[in-house]
Assembly symmetry: C2
Homo-oligomer: 198 residues x 2
């Protein structure tokens, strides 16, 4: 299988890559590193990346950020950080990627627990995670040629201890479980699912 | 109570207005009609509207659109219609409105059944409805001075028969039930709720 991994060199992406490249051809995409570079906040950059990739069997995303901060001083500009990156970045990967993906291929996006179980300062990320979850459920009804789509929605991961204080009472999730969720989406048969690892 | 109703002259907004203006001071906001005009896709226009309103006790939104059309030809530009209107339009009403609302006030936004139960062609609206639902749940944790926030999430309404064909198997909801959902949010005590009328 030819698998494109966007965010392949990040904390999570590097684990997913190590897992999937054992048995598959992996194309690593990063903002500055990897086999190919793309800025997911720029649809034109995504399109250039797909033109270089050509056809593929699976796209995995472990990229996209947002704004973490208090609601009472939040500006529209701060809010748009997550909208342009984790939300529209991932949605544009699908809107554009649907024209390059092989029949029976799959898209696997990343969301997170904040959509269901927000914490203080998480308004932007809760919103964009929810948006991508809604996109996945609706897009699964329409993707053609047996193409599937899922989101992996992890809790705060063990490898990000710097976040623990901001997530009181959230039990950290092992990276192994998150990598298994990606395997389920890429190698399994489910579609339209929000695969929760919390 | 001084209640600002954005989208007051629309199909739904006019019913909510008729209900609430019996016992409250209502300020009707429309794009071209009403007591005040605002374009919710433009944060500057929203800010000017709030400056004219001054302090208020409740903001009710029954406005905001999106793109309804097939995924296989959907462009980023089409997708941004819903992002800029029903999603960021409503979110900006809260980001900006939190600085004008009175203690113990409330925000009531509009989403819809497509976040949970999408139909063909609904990818954009499913996404933006989900986004606003996620925003409401997270914002409820942080709004200060007892200010509440909820979303009303109706199914396809009886008064929009032109939509029935696009929603096969969705039982139309009476406008009366949707108006009751707004009453629950504005006059009740709940917060962080997605009030579903399906």
């Amino acid at each position: 299988m030819k698998i494109v991994i966007v965010g392949a060199t990040g904390t999570l992406g590097s684990k997913i890559t190590a897992d999937l490249e054992k048995d598959h051809e992996v194309i690593k995409v990063g903002t500055k590193t990897g086999d190919l570079q793309a800025d997911i906040t720029d649809p034109e950059s995504i399109k250039i990346m797909f033109e270089k990739v050509g056809s593929f069997d699976a796209l995995v995303c472990a990229a996209g950020g947002g704004h973490f901060g208090p609601l009472n001083s939040m500006t529209t500009e701060e809010f748009l950080k997550g909208v342009n990156s984790k939300m529209m970045g991932q949605i544009n990967l699908v809107l554009l990627g649907q024209h390059y993906i092989n029949p029976k291929g799959s898209f696997t996006l990343i969301t997170g627990v904040l959509s269901d179980d927000p914490v203080r300062n998480s308004v932007n990320l809760a919103t964009v995670n929810s948006a991508v979850n809604g996109f996945v459920k609706a897009a699964a009804l329409e993707l053609e040629n047996g193409v599937r789509i899922n989101a992996v929605s992890p809790g705060v991961v063990e490898d990000s201890p710097e976040l623990f204080e901001a997530f009181p009472g959230h039990k950290p999730v092992s990276m192994e479980r998150v990598v298994f969720a990606y395997r389920k989406s890429v190698l399994g048969h489910v579609t339209g699912q929000i695969i929760k690892e919390v």
